[in-house]
Symmetry: C2
Subunit: 96 residues, 2 copies
DNA sequence: TGAACATATGAGCAAGTATTCATATATTGG
DNA sequence: CCAATATATGAATACTTGCTCATATGTTCA
């Protein structure tokens, strides 16, 4: 068998996490460093609620991590792979 | 602005193409070289029709290319980036 | 303490997607 | 030319997903 079912499922989940314009813009914003939910919402021009929902998914996939500071929560990319996937994908679409 | 809307949309399309287990298994099969539709269907354990539908999308995204030989059509990965994204993603899920 | 603020969450809906089934198109050998 | 074979496609359907709206939880400071 070519690729184990379980691996292909997990891989699909990973790429699914990157398969939405809003989430990519969130990730893009986080490439520069951590940012709280409100700032992210402004940055990607989305409601706080929508951003929070998306962050939940990204957190669950361990693509971002959260750091709580008072009543704010700062998010950051959790993993080097994310940034590399993002970059590689961007190369493909930009001069592909 | 963090990432241009158009870029994030195109990037999302790219990752969407990789966001499905069946398509990933097709791509995985093609890593070894070209293969016709029937062989692919066997390999990924999917109906010929389903494979054909998926190939259509992958073709449209220029992730695979088709070569017609008689009544068969052989598919191959169209781009080095695809294989690299696949590999990088796999590293992430396998020992992440 | 309580009002204001930051974030999270659940329900519900509109839009998108992967598959199946039926059928169409194209190619080959007899 | 006809039957068999390989692939493609359209419609229908079940499932998923991203957003909004309303509300909940948690935190600070006056």
């Amino acid at each position: 068998m070519t690729l184990k079912k379980k691996s292909s499922d997990r891989l699909a989940d990973l790429f699914s996490a990157l398969s939405d314009s809003s989430r990519l813009r969130i990730i893009s914003a986080l490439l520069k460093g951590e940012m709280n939910v409100g700032e992210l919402a402004e940055n990607v021009e989305l409601s706080h609620s929508a951003v929070s929902h998306q962050l939940r998914g990204l957190r669950h996939m361990r693509l971002v991590r959260a750091r709580k500071a008072g009543r704010e929560v700062f998010y950051a990319l959790d993993d080097d792979h994310v940034a590399r996937l993002f970059q590689l994908g961007l190369e493909h679409v930009e001069h592909g």
